[in-house]
């Protein structure tokens, strides 16, 4: 007997990896990138290449197709909301459905913050979109899944900027005395 299966056996013992999103991209139907968040270190060149390929792949898919696809070694989970595609890359062991709902929760957060969000809100307030994302996901992992808590954090920050506090500008000088 030859033992091809032994060699296969060797490959079956895989090490479970923890859930980690690799990156999240938001792009329009025209393929314009609206937001990009990378949770793994990649060069700018590599990021652009991935973005180009992935946008093309996802836009080529028909509606009603399934929201998941294999791409390189990753699993892509995407969903379209109005004119925007939300697209996440996760690893082989990761849970597609929960990722789909991460996307949805993020959309809800944007919606609540901007008041029925549209693509323009994200274009003009891209920095806010990033802040909200950071409150919700950190390092590719869910940090806070309660909608109320995330929005509270963002609103507190918004409040902070209105009460400008000039008094304690003490550090401004000290940081530079290296």
């Amino acid at each position: 007997m030859n033992l091809p299966r032994m060699l296969l056996l060797l490959l079956t013992i895989s090490i479970t990896s923890s859930f980690q999103m690799q990156f999240m991209l938001l792009f329009s139907r025209q393929g314009k990138l609206r937001l990009q968040k990378w949770y793994v270190p990649l060069s700018d060149k590599e990021k652009k290449k991935i973005t180009r390929e992935l946008v093309q792949t996802v836009l080529a898919r028909k509606p009603k197709m399934c929201s998941f696809l294999e791409w390189r070694d990753l699993k892509i989970v995407y969903k379209r909301y109005a004119s925007l595609y939300f697209c996440c890359a996760i690893e082989d062991q990761d849970n597609e459905l929960i990722t789909l709902e991460i996307i949805h929760r993020y959309v809800e957060l944007l919606d609540k913050y901007f008041g029925s969000v549209c693509e323009l809100d994200i274009i003009f307030n891209f920095e806010k979109a990033y802040f909200i994302l950071d409150e919700f996901l950190l390092g590719g992992e869910a940090q806070e899944t309660s909608k109320k808590n995330v929005l509270k954090a963002i609103e507190q920050a918004d409040l902070l900027q209105e009460n400008i506090d000039y008094q304690t500008r003490l550090f401004a000088g000290t940081v530079w005395t290296l």
Binding site: R5, S67, E127, N149, L160
Partner: protein
């Protein structure tokens, strides 16, 4: 303009964005951007100090420009400036810019770290979170060095705010992933586990990601998390949908946390404590039950969240693989999903069922869904779903349904998407081989495959069919007949011509009795395809022709004429010309005896891994195809390609090196690659003998590409002496998996994994014969001082290994301190009464306990200098034994376990690595430099380690690798 602008909007920014959006062309956009960049540059350079608001606005514009895809080479300093602003938005924009555009080599890093340090100690939770987010987003080594010890403190401090704890946990996770060596376990570790009990669900959600990652690396230290996770899960699962307030998502209580808890449990075996296990099984049952309840909402979010938990629970059930009842229930649940109207669910059910098919408890249950899956393959509109269906069919295939599945896959191939054809072809070829009971079915299937999807039939596939036909004399006549018929088609694929040429050349005589396939008819048929074929195929056909001359003397004149014509003998292709000349000469000079010796029938191929499998694995990556095979290994005995009935054939073994048409051996890198250099030698020497009477005319006939002419001299196959052990050991220095040893009786495969100072090695002992091995025992022993340096624990193996079966043994390895010797593995068993006794070295070498360490150039040189005592350095200059190809070298160095550092050595030809060896007692830092000299084919290897014995040992080990 935006509908809402909360906080303080930046008017200038909004205007700029509008302008960009109004640009009609790419050129206009670039022009507008350049104008803006010039403006910002002048503002930043201007004499007038900018106020915080302006600075923020310009930095934000730069960020926007960068995100549009343009390069930004200034503004970093201004962004860093913003970090120390006390105005929150300014700070926030500063951090955002740094997170997106950070340059880890930047001089600015120290300034940034300083600002972060200030914010971390500000006791202002909002500022602290911003700083933590920045660390988590950048996650560079410099940041890890600066903050890896500070963050655990923040995480477990009693007075830290919940939101800060959440950020701190995930921030630490990121640092641990980038620089595990810098995050030291300590007193905080046990307190982190108890965050699973935290009242704040957000804290638990964040902390559990960290705990999961840490448990994977240090399972023992974190094993208390199992019972905590089970009780937390149980509380969530049994809670009413409103109990968890804002953590309930569309009527599903805490779906993210539930999934993470189930994922954490997958890092561990089933709980040993009966009560905990009972509770967990109850949870899993509840989750399965809930799937049957009517939905609480029609929203897709509700069902997605609920099913996300369900799939994660099923993954845990499969991971445990010990509860038949749960496995079968999981399978039934997935069966329901197979027919669900949601494409997503059908996709996931197919995917998940693939893994279920590998469990002996649920394999049969999975098989009951075969019709649905076949239907999915035929009717799904989405290619990614069809792909999953094909994967599942492959996974559920066994002897009972192979014919049906192979037929369905073949018929699907006719219309399959181009993107998945090659893989489908490989799968069909593998299944056909694996489950063939009669070989005519196998031959038919492969020829069909070539007919339907010839373009996608890779070399491995047709090599394999030839290997099998050659090894099975009961199928040779049938194969010749079938291939002859297939070649009758007016347009047949070139791969068919190749198979036809080879098989008729070898076995055409078996059908030559029939006047419809007389030798000349066969020849004319083959030759009619000749002109349409590529050079390699023509070369193959020429070899077939010379075999015809040997098989059928009556064709000699015709064939000689063909060889003699200008288009052959003066062909512009050197290979073809050479073959034509040599074959012509050979046929006219050599006596029939010589001819018959040279062109003797191919000897059987040795037993070997199917090259097709290797190819599929390579295509799909490890693990992708493995599941079913494992199963079959348990279930099956007989094999298609040769079996116990044929005694091991020493001459075939030797010949294989020279004559195997397949490069299968190196595809996986798992066998010692067929020594390519040896092949021409053996062929050559044989040919020299043959031609010594005939004169030197054809003495250079090294026609070994397909190995037609070779039949190597028989050689003694020596019993494996212990002296080979070192060589075998050396093969595993840079890799963890592969075949450790193989002889006529036994094959030993290894798969190993290492984490810190611990390792686990799976040994697979395969009985290659059809006879049972009795009294099979294995013992591990420690030569010399090794006893006190390394600890290897193993469970005894089953004393009986059935013919064709494989048994597995797990060794747990702990490195106590650094070591130089390898542990010995002694194997004893009785084969047909004779005692077999064999001792090998286990490939456990000190480098297995490496953790890679990334560092920047200056750090490297600093450390290098610190390790300057003469005995800390070991150096060796040696001749290259293997290819000096960059990629090969890199792969080896990575396999070694150290981090390969770029941009350290000023000479880009050189390689520099760094790593830390983890032993129980201490950590040994190691730096390596390898300087190749391609011209001289030499290397200089230098190692500096904090412990001199390690430098010496590593140097010794590595000098054999390159």
């Amino acid at each position: 303009m935006p509908a809402v602008s909360k906080g303080d909007g930046m008017r200038g920014l909004a205007v700029f964005i509008s302008d960009i959006r109004n640009c009609k062309s790419k050129e206009a956009e670039i022009k507008r951007i350049n104008k803006e960049l010039a403006n910002i540059r002048s503002k930043f350079k201007g004499d007038k100090a900018l106020d915080g608001y302006s600075k923020k606005k310009y930095v934000c514009k730069l960020l926007f420009i960068f995100l549009l895809g343009h390069d930004i080479d200034f503004g970093h300093m201004e962004a860093v400036n913003l970090l120390s602003s006390n105005k929150y938005t300014e700070k926030q924009i500063g951090y955002l810019f740094i997170s997106v555009l950070v340059n880890s080599n930047s001089e600015l890093i120290r300034l940034i770290n300083n600002a972060i340090k200030n914010d971390l100690s500000s006791r202002n939770p909002t500022f602290m979170c911003l700083a933590l987010h920045c660390i988590a987003n950048v996650g560079s080594r410099e940041m890890a060095e600066a903050f890896a010890s500070e963050i655990p403190r923040i995480l477990v401090a009693g007075d830290t705010m919940d939101s800060v704890k959440q950020s701190a946990a995930l921030c630490l996770l990121r640092l641990y992933k980038t620089s595990p060596d810098l995050v030291l376990m300590g007193e905080w570790t046990s307190r982190v586990v108890h965050l699973l009990n935290d009242q704040h669900m957000g804290v638990v959600t964040a902390a559990i990601s960290l705990i999961t990652c840490l448990s994977q690396k240090n399972p023992d230290e974190f094993k208390t998390c199992v019972s905590l996770a089970v009780s937390r899960l149980s509380r969530i699962v049994s809670s009413a949908s409103t109990d968890l307030q804002d953590y309930t998502y569309y009527f599903v209580p805490a779906p993210w946390l539930s999934c993470k808890l189930l994922r954490l449990l997958q890092c561990y075996p089933p709980p040993e404590d009966g009560a905990v296990k009972g509770r967990l099984v109850e949870c899993l049952e509840t989750i399965l039950n809930k799937a049957q309840e009517p939905p609480k909402s029609k929203k897709v979010q509700h069902s997605n969240a609920k099913n996300a938990i369900l799939f994660e629970a099923i993954a845990l059930i499969i991971h445990y693989d010990s509860e038949p009842n749960l496995l079968v229930r999981a399978c039934n649940q997935l069966g329901q999903f197979l027919q669900h109207r949601e494409t997503n669910l059908r996709y996931l059910a197919l995917e998940s069922m693939c893994t279920l098919a590998s469990s002996e408890f649920s394999h049969e249950a999975v098989k009951t869904h075969i019709e649905t899956v076949i239907n999915a393959l035929k009717t799904e509109r989405d290619v990614s779903v069809r792909q999953r269906a094909a994967d599942l069919l492959y996974a559920m295939c066994d002897r009972s349904n192979a014919k049906q599945i192979v037929a369905e896959m073949l018929s699907y191939l006719e219309t399959a998407d181009y993107s998945i054809r090659e893989e489908m072809v490989l799968k069909v070829a593998i299944l056909a081989e694996k489950y063939a009971v009669d070989y005519s079915w196998y031959v038919d299937t492969i020829l069909n495959l070539i007919r339907i999807a010839g373009d996608y039939v890779s070399e491995e596939v047709w090599y394999r069919v030839i290997q099998i036909v050659i090894n099975r004399d009961d199928v040779q006549g049938y194969a010749a007949k079938t291939v002859f018929e297939a070649l009758q088609a007016p347009a047949c694929h070139e791969n068919m011509v190749k198979v036809g040429g080879y098989i008729l050349g070898e076995f055409g005589n078996l059908i030559a009795g029939d006047p419809r396939s007389s030798p000349l008819v066969q020849f004319n048929l083959l030759h009619s395809k000749f002109h349409l074929c590529s050079v390699p195929t023509r070369a193959l056909l020429l070899s077939a022709y010379i075999k015809f001359i040997n098989l059928f003397p009556e064709t000699k004149a015709t064939i000689q004429e063909v060889l003699r014509c200008d288009s052959q003998i003066r062909n512009s292709d050197v290979e073809l010309q050479q073959r034509a000349v040599e074959y012509l000469k050979l046929s006219s000079i050599a006596s029939t005896d010589v001819l018959a010796t040279v062109l003797e029938e191919m000897p059987p191929f040795p037993e070997r891994e199917s090259s097709i499998l290797a190819k599929l694995k390579k295509k799909k990556g490890p693990g992708a195809v493995s599941v079913t095979e494992m199963e079959d290994g348990k279930r099956e005995g007989g094999e298609l390609n040769g079996g116990g009935d044929r005694g091991p054939d020493a001459s075939a073994m030797a010949a294989s090196n020279a004559s195997t048409p397949s490069p299968s051996a190196d595809l996986l890198g798992i066998r010692p690659a067929a020594p390519v250099s040896a092949a021409p030698a053996s062929v050559g020497s044989l040919l020299v003998d043959v031609f010594s009477e005939a004169g030197p005319a054809a003495s250079s006939a090294a026609v070994n590409d397909e190995g037609f002419l070779s039949s190597a001299p028989p050689s003694e196959d020596p019993a494996p002496p212990l002296s080979e052990a070192d060589e075998l050991l050396n093969k595993f220095v840079c890799k963890n998996n592969g075949v450790l040893f193989e002889n006529q009786l036994l094959q030993i495969g290894i798969k190993s994994e290492y984490r810190q100072n611990l390792g686990r090695m799976y040994l697979f002992y395969g009985n290659k014969t059809s006879v049972q091995f009795a009294s099979f025992t294995t013992t591990v022993s420690y030569p010399g001082e090794l006893q006190s340096q390394l600890n290897v624990q193993s469970k005894p193996v089953e004393p009986l290994v059935e013919g064709g079966a494989q048994i597995q043994q797990v060794l747990n390895i702990e490195c106590l301190t650094d070591f130089s010797e390898a542990p010995l593995l002694n194997i004893k068993f009785r084969y047909g009464g004779a005692l077999q006794n064999l001792t090998l070295k286990l490939p456990v070498t000190i480098n297995k306990f490496f953790q890679p360490t990334e560092m920047a150039s200056q750090d490297f040189f600093q450390r290098w200098k610190q390790l300057s005592q003469p005995q800390q350095e070991a150096q060796k200059i040696f001749k290259a034994n293997n290819s000096m190809d960059t990629e090969v070298l890199k792969a080896k160095l990575l396999g070694l376990g150290m981090a390969l550092l770029d941009n350290v050595d000023p000479n880009p030809e050189n390689y520099v690595c760094a790593g830390v060896i983890q032993t129980k007692g201490q950590q040994v830092g190691c730096l390596l430099r390898l300087e190749p000299n391609a011209q001289a084919q030499m290397y200089r290897l230098t190692l500096r380690c904090s412990k001199d014995s390690v430098s010496r040992r590593l140097c010794e080990l590595l000098a054999e690798q390159f």
